[in-house]
């Protein structure tokens, strides 16, 4: 029995499953930071569910000791929402890649976000499809050369994940760099603590297939949001997300707000109608008498 009498350490969250990422992959840093954040929060292993889609990054749940749900490509968010709604007492953290989240899965983001679904969503953004061995992703830079775009992708604008979530009313939106595990662990921790939907975009380079958005590139370009950034101001947050200074990638918490969450709204509704687990079904039958 896992009784949390002694505090859990980061390593206690690690499963025995062999990690399959390429040596040097940014996702190792994310895994470590996540374990650290879990340990700092002392998340109960049996009450936590790590959900993911499909991709290199989406393998992460196997490497944790918590419950997990390795779902389908692009579907981690509605699965995560289903789990949380199915049992609101669980801590549900959703993991995935940029393609999983913003290409095939992009249609789910607006709704999970605007409902302020009580989830934490952590995207390992490597600006490429890793698992399928190198294709352009929605966050790849315009003109990106990859296996199916040998002459450069004809895209004019890339998806900005932060702006994506901000636009739909995200209540916690942050970015960090897997090369900075301390900051990453801290932000993931705060994201989990946040009430409602929280989003963390982690720059997590794919050294195997992305020779542009490399660790070295980001090491030099990441910069903390300026001290005077007001993360209570949505338009400022959008501006910072969409227009960082040339060559810079801001990290930190872009936006934070407090709004009723989906679970709160549903609980309030159920309360209003006098929800009762033992409600007599005969009342429904009676309502159908002629």
């Amino acid at each position: 029995m896992t009784t949390a009498t002694v505090p859990l350490k980061a390593k206690d969250y690690r499963s025995e499953v062999k990690v399959v990422w390429c040596p040097g992959c940014g996702d190792y840093g994310v895994l470590n930071s996540v374990q650290k954040a879990f340990a700092e929060l002392q998340l109960p292993i049996n009450n936590t569910v790590a959900v993911s889609g499909i991709g290199c990054s989406s393998r992460l749940p196997y490497f944790l000791k918590t419950y997990g749900f390795h779902s389908l490509h692009g579907r981690s968010l509605p699965v995560g929402a289903g789990i949380k709604l199915g049992n609101p007492d669980l801590e549900v953290v959703v993991f995935g890649g940029d393609g999983d989240g913003f290409s095939i899965g992009g249609g789910h983001v607006p709704h999970v976000v605007r409902k302020n679904t009580d989830l934490t969503y952590v995207v390992m953004d490597n600006h490429i499809y890793g698992l399928t061995k190198g294709q352009v992703s929605p966050t790849s830079s315009p003109g990106f050369v990859a296996t199916t775009t040998p002459y450069g992708a004809p895209d004019t604008t890339s998806v900005n994940p932060l702006a994506y979530v901000l636009t739909f009313g995200g209540t916690f939106v942050a970015q960090c760099f897997s090369g900075n595990p301390k900051q990453t662990a801290e932000i993931v921790k705060q994201a989990i603590q946040h009430k409602g939907f929280s989003y963390v975009n982690i720059i997590s380079p794919c050294l195997t297939f992305n020779k542009i958005d490399t660790f070295d590139f980001y090491k030099d370009s990441v910069a903390e949001l300026p001290e005077d950034h007001d993360n209570g101001d949505l338009v400022q947050a959008l501006d910072k997300a969409l227009n960082p200074p040339a060559g810079k990638t801001y990290t930190g918490i872009f936006y934070k707000a407090s709004k009723p969450t989906l679970i709160e709204n549903l609980r309030a509704m159920n309360k209003k109608v006098g929800a009762d687990k033992n409600y007599d079904l005969n009342k429904i039958i009676d309502a159908h008498r002629p």
């Binding site: 049996n46 569910v49 419950y67 509605p78 007492d89 669980l90 789910h108 159920n270 009762d276």
Partner: protein, 574 residues
């Protein structure tokens, strides 16, 4: 008289549906059985809408063949039904002052004019009351208890206050009065009151029955995306789930719906979604996931005319191929098919029970006609059902939890997040017993076998399949879903005509109940499979599993087969 069919036709939005509902309610109140049949226009406003009510002192098996009484609200309704106005039938039609410009005379048809528009507009000064005028006239003409009609008005409009009740009662009376003063009844149709064998009656639609069955089974989670003709299931559930402290989600699309459902089921809920063909097409990838990760869930598919957007408000049984064979790879599923409204309730309970017991997705295929129709049925007793819950994991100190343990039954114990020491990863990848991914040939073979082994004896699980007639038959009928009602009735006709005919009613349509079908077939010289689709989908899946020669009778005009049509076919092939 023990059986009467009244059809009301007019433009969508003219109150056809609500007046039909009232007739049905009133008749049920006065002890009659009823079964209704509706067709909606695919247009948003306007277009031909039809509501047909069959009344009987006996059990009603199907919509019937044609009608005895047609009530035409407009010219289009008259035109569409003129060919069905056979000698002996009755026509009630809006004239003069309505959309129909000429008096109608049809040989052998009793035609009663009724200036319903005019009475509503001029006398009642409320055009919307037209349908109530018609209702009053119909109850007067065919002796539908006026007391029951008034009671129905009270119970339906009572909440809206005395004034509304009064207006409606006036309209009823105006219709009845017109008939009393202007017509001498010459037709034989008369309902009267009746003593039902089972006093404890409710009126409920197939779609609402699906919701009710789910609630009885313990379902407390539904996520769906609206789609005709399935939306009503969710509307029903949206009223009651919150009262039961359950959850209803209207998701952004069908993929999210089934994802929500599977997530909630993983978390421990009995969960379902309701949809129609286009939505089910979108769910195929996730249904394969549920097979692979062994997550119990239920999908109700209220079939409509296909393919593609097709005939969204019409009746068809053409999603069976997809239900059985829809996704990629080899994935076990269960497909059930209820025959009528009470059966929908039972089958929904069975669907959840089987999903839970075998940890597979279960699809329930109803259809537009069954979903929309209402029936007066014996009120079910929610506590009388056996309810099965999934086999749960209990740590036994035997080492780490094996979510996908290989054992004889193929059924492994399932933990829920929150359970101590039960952590595992639900996964769509091939996996070891622990749930960790693995891809060796031996593993894939043993896990595939496990997944299919669960369903090896599934056919024994379901209540014995009903058979009509006995002894050797010259013709056996096999059908599915709501077509069974038609089969029952036409088999009665055939037997009454001295033919040796019987019928098999599988409710489990996939995996094909091979034993029962083979045994049934061994007692039949020929076998006829009537169904509402082009390809003969049931016939083909039966053939794929047996050596039977099947005569297909594929009807695909967007309407159910009538007992008369099927009887003709029986005579033809026997």
């Amino acid at each position: 008289m023990s059986d009467l069919i009244i059809r009301i036709g007019g433009e969508g939005g003219e109150g056809i549906i609500s007046s039909g509902d009232m007739v049905a309610q009133a008749a049920a109140r006065s002890g009659l059985n009823i079964l209704t049949f509706k067709t909606f226009p695919a247009e948003i406003r306007g277009g031909y809408a039809m509501y047909q009510i069959r009344f009987s002192t006996d059990e009603i098996k199907s919509e019937g063949s044609g009608f005895d009484v047609m009530c035409a609200f407009n010219q289009e309704a008259l035109d569409k039904n003129r060919s069905a106005l056979k000698p002996g039938t009755v026509l009630v039609y809006d004239y003069p002052g309505g959309d129909i410009k000429e008096e109608v005379n049809i040989d052998g048809v009793t035609c009663y004019n009724l200036p319903m528009s005019q009475i509503a507009k001029k006398e009642l000064e409320m055009y919307r009351a037209k349908n109530m005028v018609a209702l009053g006239a119909l109850s007067e003409l065919f002796d539908i208890s006026s007391e029951s009609v008034r009671d129905t008005i009270h119970s339906k409009f009572g909440k809206k206050g005395e004034k509304v009740v009064g207006i409606n009662l006036n309209a009823i009376e105006a219709g009845a009065k017109y008939v009393r003063e202007n017509h001498k009844k010459t037709d034989p149709f008369k309902m009267g009151k009746a003593e039902r064998a089972d006093k404890d009656v409710i009126i409920i639609s197939g779609n609402n029955a699906a919701g009710l069955g789910a609630l009885i089974a313990g379902c407390r989670f539904l996520s769906c995306y609206p789609i005709t003709p399935a939306t009503e299931v969710a509307i029903f559930m949206s009223k009651y789930l919150p009262k039961l402290d359950g959850t209803l989600v209207q998701a952004e699309d069908e993929i999210a719906s089934i994802a929500n459902v599977i997530g909630a089921a993983f978390a421990g809920q009995k969960a379902m979604t309701s949809t129609s063909g286009p939505g089910l097409s979108l769910m195929q990838e996730f249904l394969g996931y549920a097979s692979m990760a062994e997550i119990p869930c239920v999908v109700v598919d209220v079939q409509r005319g296909g393919p593609s957007t097709g005939l969204p408000t019409k009746h068809e049984q053409s999603d069976l191929f997809m239900a059985a064979h829809g996704g990629h790879g080899d994935a076990p599923r269960i497909v059930l098919s209820p025959e009528n409204v009470p059966d929908v309730i039972d089958i929904m309970v069975q669907a959840f029970n089987l999903a839970e017991k075998y940890q597979v997705p279960v699809l329930v295929l109803t259809d537009g006609s069954l979903g929309n129709r209402t029936e007066s049925i014996q009120a079910p007793d929610p506590n009388s059902y056996e309810i099965i819950d999934r086999k749960r994991y209990a740590p036994n100190g035997d080492g780490p939890y094996k979510r996908y343990e290989l054992n004889e039954s193929g059924i492994s114990a399932m933990s829920h997040p929150g359970d101590a020491d039960g952590a595992y990863i639900a996964t769509g990848l091939e996996h070891f017993e622990t749930s960790a991914p693995g891809y060796t040939p031996e593993l894939h073979v043993s896990m595939s076998d496990k997944r299919f082994r669960k369903l090896e004896n599934i056919e024994d699980e379901l209540p014995p399949i009903e058979v009509q007639g006995d002894g050797e038959a010259d013709l056996g009928l096999i059908s599915w879903g709501s077509t069974l009602g038609t089969v029952r009735e036409s088999v009665d006709m055939a037997i009454a005509a001295g033919m040796k005919v019987k019928a098999l009613h599988p409710k489990l349509v996939w995996p094909v109940p091979v034993k029962a079908i083979t045994e049934f077939a061994s007692g039949c010289k020929k076998i006829l499979v009537p169904e509402i689709n082009k390809q003969g989908q049931l016939a083909e899946i039966i053939r794929s599993k047996t050596d039977l020669h099947l005569i297909q009778y594929n009807v695909y005009g967007g309407l159910p087969i009538t007992p008369d049509e099927l009887f003709e076919k029986i005579k033809e092939v026997i």
